[in-house]
């Protein structure tokens, strides 16, 4: 008899185990799914909306389902000349944004690396002081110095040029800080070995430090590219020539037509342009993400 009760007990417990739901796991997943939806649904809605014509959007608001104006909208967004002077289309703006993003990223990396190199490797009298001065500029965003910056660029005749767009924003405390931390973790013996091998400061930088910083450079590149790509205020201020407009400005330009009152703003087209504006940063992140993670986490060289 004892045997029989035992086996039944085991049988029931196994069935119970099979059916048991781990509520903690379910809870975790609900939170994760909700979080993911919170991030993705707006993007999806913009994407869906980008396939409707302006009138539908104007009447019914954002769309959940795809419409039939997909190719028309994207075609218009990319190739139709618009703006006040009819001199700018999506491709131009895409190019401008790319130039701005790349110029930012590359410029900031070069300047940041060189500043960090000077601070870490040379016996400067006020190196630490200089570093903290640079570091505190993190607390002063562009907006604080926007008027003097504009004044300087304007008086140098650099308004409406790529130089004027890029150069004033190129000094980067963030990049300097990250490269400084990275350089300080490079083993001392490596520098000494290079000195004995006859590498002067310039050669050491190019031959050893730059290749060693690859992952860090990639991480900085992503951050700075996206930062440059999303710039709005400075380009708005410094460029009045529509052929220098960036994508981020272009989106606003389309919506602004509404304010002028004449026509219905091209909502579908604006949504399409927003999607186009999202693609390059996403691609860059996907392309560099392995290096990005390595650059931010890897500690051993």
């Amino acid at each position: 008899m004892a045997d029989v009760t035992d086996t039944t007990a085991i049988a029931t417990s196994t069935t119970r185990r099979r059916k048991r739901i781990k509520w903690e796991t379910v809870g975790d997943h609900v939170v994760l799914i909700l979080g993911a939806l919170l991030m993705l649904v707006p993007v999806y809605m913009v994407f869906a909306t980008s396939s409707h014509d302006a009138i539908t959007v104007h009447r019914e608001g954002l769309q959940f389902l795809f419409g039939d104006q997909f190719s028309e909208n994207y075609n218009a967004a990319l190739f139709e000349y618009g703006g006040f002077t009819d001199s700018v289309n999506g491709i131009t703006m895409l190019t401008n944004s790319l130039i701005l993003g790349l110029g930012f990223a590359i410029g900031k990396i070069i300047v940041g690396m060189m500043a960090a190199y000077a601070i870490v490797y040379f016996r400067l009298k006020f190196a630490t002081f200089a570093f903290w001065i640079i570091f505190t500029t993190l607390l002063l965003p562009l907006e604080v110095r926007i008027l003097p910056s504009y004044e300087v660029i304007q008086s140098m005749g650099l308004a409406n040029t790529y130089t004027g767009l890029i150069v004033p924003l190129i000094a980067s405390a963030t990049a300097t800080f990250f490269f400084r931390q990275f350089f300080r973790s490079v083993p001392e013996e490596l520098i000494e070995a290079a000195r004995i091998d006859g590498a002067g400061p310039f050669k050491f930088f190019i031959d050893i430090l730059v290749p060693l910083s690859r992952t860090m450079i990639a991480a900085m590149f992503i951050i700075m590219f996206v930062f440059g790509w999303n710039q709005y205020l400075w380009p708005t201020l410094i460029t009045t020539d529509e052929s220098l407009f960036t994508l981020v400005r272009g989106i606003r330009q389309i919506i602004q037509a509404y304010a002028d009152g004449s026509t219905t703003p091209e909502y579908g087209e604006a949504a399409a342009l927003a999607i186009i504006a999202m693609v390059p940063p996403v691609l860059i992140v996907i392309f560099f993400q392995n290096w990005f993670v390595k650059g931010l986490t890897e500690s051993d060289k």
Binding site: P187, E192, A193, A194, R195, I196, D197, P211, L212, K301
Partner: protein
């Protein structure tokens, strides 16, 4: 190849710390000299000054016929092997070895030839295209050696090159480095804190302590006639036994009882430190020194007995054939094997 001369070379750090008191010595052409001492004794500072990585506060350093005090490390025609190898992680083995030559502006074909030659010498031929991260510790050490060799320098500098290797590999590399140095006949300075490395590799040893040279001499001299209690206890494993005592006629009365007969320092009276190497002692029933054995350590080839002699700690090393057990036994000394040191200054009498 060159002779190295140090003339009253001194190092004082900006904070006033005297890392190295003025020291002078010559390293004849082709000799391997080992700087040995505990951490912080100034041996690395001395090596780095020879390399040019550290400035010389005072004195004159010459390599060959040149005074090199103010010459850049790159132009001293030296090569250095670092403790952590200091290989360039992003370069292949071949590029690591050839980097110095490239900076000297040698043509590519010549660099490749030299790298190949060094690679063959060090059994690295198959590894020339790999990166340092794909190599084992011993292989990395070899690459570091290769990087030194290809430059055909006047002087090799080794900064504790074996301390990151495991014991077996260390023994092997020790022999290899020694053989290589003999073959190339390049003057070398080798820094280590390991007295076994020092004893086995050196033509001459310099023992440093707290920024001063304690003794300079061949391994046999250092071991056989240590100049001070510091050298006596630093060189040799297990270290020399040091017993406190007082000179008493033709013998020494040890603190705590027993007397050493038939051996006394000449022309010295009063307190004295007696040094006896653990292996210079015989177990003998006729012996006059009672030794209380507390612990016996089995080392295979021999046994170490640790205990007390008249209350002072004492060790004896005996052959594996000898019976060793705890308890009191009698020891006999050979008078020639007894060293005497000044108790206060530690200097040899």
């Amino acid at each position: 190849m060159a002779k190295v001369t140090l003339d009253r070379v001194r190092k004082v750090y900006p904070n006033g710390f005297e890392a190295l008191y003025p020291c002078s010595f010559d390293i004849p052409d082709g000799e391997l000299i080992v700087l040995v001492g505990p951490s912080g004794c100034g041996k690395s500072t001395l090596l780095r000054m020879i390399a040019g990585l550290e400035e010389i506060t005072e004195g004159e350093l010459s390599i060959g016929d040149r005074v090199v005090n103010d010459i850049d490390p790159a132009n001293r025609n030296i090569a250095m092997v670092f403790q952590n190898y200091a290989l360039y992680p992003h370069m292949t083995v071949a590029n690591n070895m050839g980097y110095g030559l490239r900076n000297r502006g040698l043509p590519k074909s010549e660099i490749a030839a030299k790298v190949r030659e060094a690679g063959e010498m060090l059994n690295l031929t198959e590894l020339l295209d790999r990166r340092p991260s794909q190599l084992s510790g011993g292989q990395r050490q070899r690459v570091a050696m290769g990087r030194a060799i290809v430059r055909s320098p006047d002087l090799f500098l080794f900064d504790e090159p074996l301390s990151n290797l495991d014991a077996k590999l260390r023994n092997q590399m020790r022999v290899e480095i020694r053989a290589l140095q003999r073959r190339l006949k390049t003057t070398s300075v080798y820094v280590t804190h390991d007295q076994v490395e020092a004893m086995t590799m050196a033509d001459r040893i310099i023992v440093l302590n707290a920024g001063r040279i304690e003794q300079m001499g061949s391994p046999a001299e250092i071991y056989g006639a240590p100049a001070s209690t510091f050298v006596a206890s630093f060189m040799g494993a297990p270290p020399m036994n040091l017993l406190k005592g007082t000179v008493n006629g033709s013998g020494v009365l040890l603190d705590g009882g027993p007397t050493i007969t038939r051996a006394a320092p000449v022309g010295h009276t009063g307190p004295v430190t007696v040094g006896i190497r653990p292996e210079d002692i015989e177990l003998s029933d006729d012996g006059d020194l009672p030794f209380d054995v507390d612990i016996v350590e089995e080392l295979g080839a021999n046994r170490l007995m640790h205990g007390h002699l008249g209350g002072q700690p004492f060790s004896v090393s005996v052959n594996k054939d000898m019976h060793a057990a705890t308890g009191q036994i009698k020891l006999a000394l050979k008078p020639a094997a007894v060293h005497f040191f000044d108790t206060e200054e530690g200097r040899r009498l």
